[in-house]
């Protein structure tokens, strides 16, 4: 891989990481969905770069699947969902942004250290990408833990999947096609089920606040 493609790949990786930070700090649901779509776009960009640099044909297909699923369909479903649920302008008030940012930085350092012994085996790609992928996964995880509303939790879940997908393309030139199709199908079905589920939750509690879902505890 030429230095230029390595640099381009690094650029996309840093965009992914930047968006992960932005999501961590974003209170508005509608902006979160847009950030998720942009993250998907960066993912498409990085996949195409790897495909072009390595000549792996099937990576173009998986870039196409990502484009359709994560940039078009999922954001569309999410936008529709928040419109129908009337939570479009909801603002999460409970998160402490400076602390979240600091924890996020700690996670990035941790992820890089964890990935360090492995990245050296990476033959051709920019070294940092596996660390960045892991950092994205961990930050989405953090987002899911700290958010109290259902939709941001789901977006965190999907963003985590983005990080995993990036790990797959950057470290291994993509998983076998059949596996990628299966994963894409799972994500899509999961999203639809979550959509159904959110209506059930709202019907029951008149709100999408996860704090209602904390009754089942050990005495």
């Amino acid at each position: 891989m030429s230095p230029l493609t390595g640099q381009i790949l690094n650029l996309f990786a840093s965009v992914l990481l930047l968006i992960a930070f932005a999501m961590l700090a974003q209170r508005r649901i509608v902006t979160l969905i847009n950030l998720f779509a942009i993250q998907g776009l960066a993912l498409v960009g990085s996949t195409v770069t790897v495909a072009w640099a390595t000549g792996q044909r099937h990576l173009y297909y998986s870039a196409g699947i990502t484009l359709v699923l994560k940039v078009v369909i999922l954001p569309f479903i999410l936008h529709r969902l928040i419109r129908r649920l009337n939570v479009k302008w909801d603002i999460e008030t409970l998160i402490n942004i400076p602390t979240m940012m600091l924890v996020g930085i700690v996670l990035v350092v941790f992820a890089f250290n964890l990935a360090l012994p492995i990245s050296q085996f990476s033959q051709s790609i920019a070294r940092g990408t596996l660390g960045i992928a892991l950092a994205c996964v961990l930050m989405s995880f953090l987002m899911m833990i700290t958010r109290s509303k259902a939709v941001p939790q789901v977006i965190g879940f999907l963003a985590m999947e983005n990080g995993l997908f990036f790990a797959a393309t950057s470290a291994t030139y993509g998983m076998p096609m059949v596996v990628e199709l299966g994963i894409a199908l799972d994500v899509l079905v999961g999203m639809i089920i979550l959509g159904v589920f959110m209506f059930q939750i709202r019907e029951q509690f008149d709100s999408l606040d996860i704090h209602h879902l904390e009754k089942l505890k050990e005495d």
Binding site: I118, A168, A171, P176, I183, I193, I201, H212, L213, L216
Partner: protein, 483 residues
């Protein structure tokens, strides 16, 4: 070859078919018939394997060896008996107004979808497809956990979805790392995720990558096994969903998740040449056994209590596989089998008991033996069996695990004995007054399905007294495979 096709095609097509069939009177019977057909196909596959040894199919995408053949048969069998149990159970739920037509339609089609994902996970040779099937199993059951639409069941389902989703995401990262390691040896072909190929080159896989991959895989699939501290979803999902679903979650899903972990352990062991993977499993397993045993005594809901008992037993099996060696592996496989049979039998009995009493709170279920002796005896015998009383199969496997632990890891034995003792005291003291004692329980509007209960318990008893030679040979061969 054809056996694979039939085995997977029946539940795959059965799901949409039952959805189209909708809410007919015949739907439960069709569900049971499809499950019977699946069981017959699994018996066929078993017969093929008995006569011809391990087989692969479809460009090696599917395979059956000594390790998964009996799990396939067990899964199809418990799937069939649970579908028999769910016929009267769901009829009673419907009369009580807890189930409606659309919900039953969802239930039946998702039941078949769940069976498909379990069988796919067991028979696939591709570690990536294994992941896809495990995730699909969550998706198929999550709407069934929330099917009653109560506040508690919605919460349980949300927790189930999010926790298992996050857990399984870790497993995907582990799978990616596994592929990363494999690709260096096998090349970037579709074969690099096939377990049979990986097994051949496992000694060449890069140890640094494999150790990290195994950590992620264990944490990921361990969430589905319900290993402490990743177990939070399990008691809620078991307690709030309909009882047939509790039975298949406990009897099948946990087993299949554990099966995924031991497949990964074989690869990690080969690559690492150290006891790293085994030690991690022993740690998680022991923690699960001890923590679950102490949680058992604090439960008031009967299904919750038996859910914690599942965590305890899964921890014990994980510990056994962690120890490794022919005897412990043999015991682990036997324990998986009998736990699956006995625990689902208990859930069948508990389901009818809770329907009779109109509650799942144990203090309000009293004197089952007076109103319906069969349910009472089923629950009592099942409880004794799961607590490891001789001559049931659980006793045999627990005895083997304990003696191996005493010989090889003496430090662990006091913890295991303490946990088993606490579990015995906790469960027996709760179940005894439920079965005996004064009662105000009313009879059920329909005959309860008790044949499955006693068939399962009979098999559990049989495995304690006599293991058929071919089954013993499989266990031994699979134990050797596991190292």
């Amino acid at each position: 070859m054809e056996a694979f096709f039939v085995l997977l095609a029946i539940p795959l097509l059965g799901g949409p078919f039952l959805w189209l069939l909708g809410d007919r009177r015949s739907a439960p019977e069709v569900n049971a018939a499809l499950s019977l057909a699946t069981f017959a196909a699994s018996a066929w596959l078993t017969a093929v394997v008995i006569s011809g040894g391990p087989i692969t199919a479809w460009n090696e995408q599917f395979f059956v060896d000594a390790l998964n053949v009996f799990l396939v048969a067990l899964t199809a069998f418990v799937g069939f008996t649970t579908s028999l149990f769910s016929r009267p159970y769901m009829r009673i739920e419907r009369e009580k107004g807890k189930m409606t037509g659309p919900r039953l339609r969802l239930y039946h089609s998702m039941y078949q979808a769940f069976m498909f994902t379990m069988l796919l996970a067991l028979t696939t040779n591709n570690m990536g497809i294994l992941w896809v099937a495990m995730e699909a199993a969550t998706l198929a059951t999550v709407l069934l956990v929330s099917v009653y639409r109560t506040a508690a069941s919605l919460e349980a389902a949300w927790k189930y979805f999010i926790l298992c989703g996050v857990g399984i995401a870790q497993a995907l990262f582990g799978t990616i790392l596994l592929y990363f390691a494999a690709e260096r040896v096998l090349g970037a072909e579709g074969n690099a995720l096939l377990w049979t190929h990986l097994n051949l080159v496992k000694a060449d896989l890069e140890p640094a990558i494999m150790s990290l991959a195994f950590v992620f895989l264990l944490v990921g699939y361990g969430t589905k096994i319900g290993l402490v501290p990743l177990h939070n979803w399990l008691p809620d999902a078991h307690a709030e969903g309909p009882t047939p679903i509790s039975a298949v979650l406990s009897g099948l899903l946990l087993n299949v998740a554990l099966y995924s972990v031991i497949r990964c352990k074989v690869l990690a062991d080969g690559a690492l040449e150290s006891r790293f993977a085994g030690n991690m499993m022993m740690g998680f397993g022991l923690l699960s056994v001890v923590v679950a045993a102490f949680f058992l005594s604090r439960q008031r809901d009967v299904k919750r209590m038996f859910a914690y008992s599942s965590i305890e037993h899964m921890g014990l099996v994980t510990f056994a596989f962690g120890m490794g060696g022919p005897i412990a592996n043999f015991a682990g496989l036997l324990h998986m089998t009998v736990h699956s049979l006995v625990k689902s039998a208990i859930f069948f009995a508990v389901g009818h008991a809770a329907q009779k009493a109109g509650t799942q709170l144990m203090e309000d279920i009293r004197g089952l033996i007076k109103v319906s002796p069969t349910v009472g005896w089923g629950l009592m015998i099942g409880t004794l069996a799961i607590l490891g009383m001789p001559p049931f199969g659980v006793f045999a496997s627990e005895f083997l695990i304990l003696t191996t632990a005493m010989r090889e890891h003496p430090w662990a034995t006091p913890f295991l004995l303490l946990a088993l003792g606490v579990a015995f005291a906790a469960v027996f003291s709760r179940v005894q007054p439920m079965v005996f004692g004064d009662t105000h329980i009313k009879p059920l509007p329909h005959q309860p399905a008790l044949v499955p209960v006693f068939v399962h318990l009979g098999l559990g008893l049989l495995l304690g007294l006599y293991i058929p030679p071919y089954l013993a040979a499989w266990y031994a061969e699979a134990a050797k495979l596991l190292g």
